[in-house]
C-alpha cells in the first residue's frame, strides 16, 4: 500500500482525536498485518468503493470511547452505555470522511458506506485476503487503532484526464 494514500488517514485520525478529546495524541506505532483482523476493543468498520476500494476499522478501548462520548454528551458516560459503541462508529465516519475528502481533492472518486459495529464473528471473516496497515495512537485515556486495507482500481481522474490551465 502506498504511503501517500495512508498519509491522509494518519492526518485525519490525528486531527479528529485531538479535536474530540481536546488533548494531544501521539502516533505510537505503524505496522503491517497479513492475517485476519483481531478486535482489541470496540470496533467499527466502514467500506468505500470507487477508484480505490477497501475498508477501515477503528478500534478503541471502551474507556477512550466513553471519554469522547462524555465530552459530547456533557455528562459522565459509563463504558457500558449504548452511546459508547455509537461514538466509535461516528468517529470512524469522521476519520474516513476527512481522509477520503483529501484523496478526492487529489482526483480519486469514492462512495462511502455507513459505519457498522464489528462483532467477533465478523472479525474472523475480515482481512484474511488482503494486507492491512495498522496505525496505533496513544491517547490520555487509552490506545486507538486504525486498520486500513485498500487497493487501487484505477489512477486518479486528474492523472487520466489532465485539465490544462492558462
Amino acid at each position: 500500500m502506498k504511503m501517500d494514500l495512508i498519509q491522509p488517514f494518519i492526518g485525519s485520525l490525528d486531527a479528529v482525536l485531538a479535536e474530540m478529546m481536546k488533548a494531544a495524541v501521539v502516533i505510537a506505532d505503524v505496522s503491517m498485518e497479513e492475517e485476519g483482523y483481531r478486535r482489541k476493543g470496540l470496533a467499527a468498520v466502514i467500506t468505500f468503493k470507487g477508484q480505490i476500494e477497501g475498508r477501515i476499522i477503528l478500534d478503541m478501548e471502551p474507556r477512550a470511547a466513553a471519554t469522547i462520548a462524555a465530552c459530547m454528551a456533557g455528562r459522565e458516560v459509563d463504558s457500558s452505555e449504548a452511546i459508547v459503541p455509537e461514538t466509535v462508529c461516528e468517529l470512524a465516519n469522521m476519520v474516513l470522511g476527512n481522509a477520503v475528502t483529501q484523496l478526492n481533492d487529489r482526483g480519486f472518486q469514492f462512495r462511502v458506506f455507513p459505519p457498522a459495529l464489528l462483532t467477533e464473528d465478523q472479525c474472523a471473516k475480515i482481512g484474511s485476503d488482503s494486507e492491512a496497515t495498522v496505525l496505533c495512537f496513544d491517547t490520555p485515556v487509552g490506545a486507538v487503532h486504525l486498520d486500513i486495507s485498500m487497493r487501487y482500481h484505477s489512477r486518479p481522474s486528474n492523472e487520466r484526464s489532465p485539465v490544462g490551465v492558462g
Binding site: 479535536e19 469522521m94 476527512n98 455507513p114
Partner: protein
C-alpha cells in the same frame, strides 16, 4: 461547551427550531447539544432521509441539519425532496465527507450551506446565522435564555 448569543426568530421572538438528521445517535446528540448552546430547540430528529421528509412536514423547522451518508435514503436525495415540497426549507448539510462533488450536488438540490465534521460550534453558529439571514436575530440581551419565552 461555549454558550453563544441566543438566536431567535424575528417574526415571533421564539427560539429557532431545528430538525437534526443523522443515522448516528451520537452525532444527533452532539448536534442537539450544540444547538442548545445557540439558544435553539430541537423540533425533531431523524435517522435517515425518508424519516427526515416526514419529520420536516410534521415539525416545519426553521433549520434542518442534514447528514449525507445514511441508510435507506441519503441526505442529498432527501434535500431535493424536501425543497421540492417546501421551497422555503433551509437545509445545512453536515457531513464528514467534504468532496467538492458532494457539496456541489447538495447545493444544486437546494441545500443552503455545508459544514464538515467534526463540527466546530463557532463555524456552525455563523452558518446558521447566515442561513437564517433576516429571519433569525440574536435575542436582546437579558430578555431570553433561548429556550423559554
Amino acid at each position: 461547551m461555549k454558550l453563544f448569543e441566543p438566536l431567535e426568530r424575528k417574526r415571533d421572538g421564539q427560539p429557532v427550531r431545528y430538525l437534526i438528521v443523522d443515522d448516528s445517535v451520537f452525532a444527533r446528540k452532539s448536534l442537539a447539544r450544540m444547538v442548545g448552546t445557540f439558544g435553539g430547540q430541537v423540533a425533531g430528529e431523524a435517522g435517515d432521509g425518508l424519516t427526515a421528509i416526514t419529520e420536516y412536514g410534521r415539525t416545519k423547522p426553521d433549520i434542518v441539519l442534514m447528514d449525507i451518508t445514511m441508510p435507506q435514503m441519503e441526505g442529498i436525495e432527501a434535500v431535493e425532496r424536501i425543497v421540492r415540497e417546501h421551497p422555503e426549507a433551509r437545509v445545512v448539510m453536515v457531513s464528514s465527507v467534504g468532496y467538492q462533488e458532494n457539496i456541489l450536488a447538495a447545493l444544486q438540490k437546494g441545500a443552503r450551506h455545508f459544514v464538515q465534521k467534526p463540527v466546530d460550534p463557532e463555524v456552525l453558529y455563523e452558518i446558521v446565522r447566515y442561513v437564517l439571514n433576516e429571519e433569525g436575530v440574536p435575542a436582546p440581551a437579558g430578555t431570553s435564555d433561548g429556550t423559554t419565552r
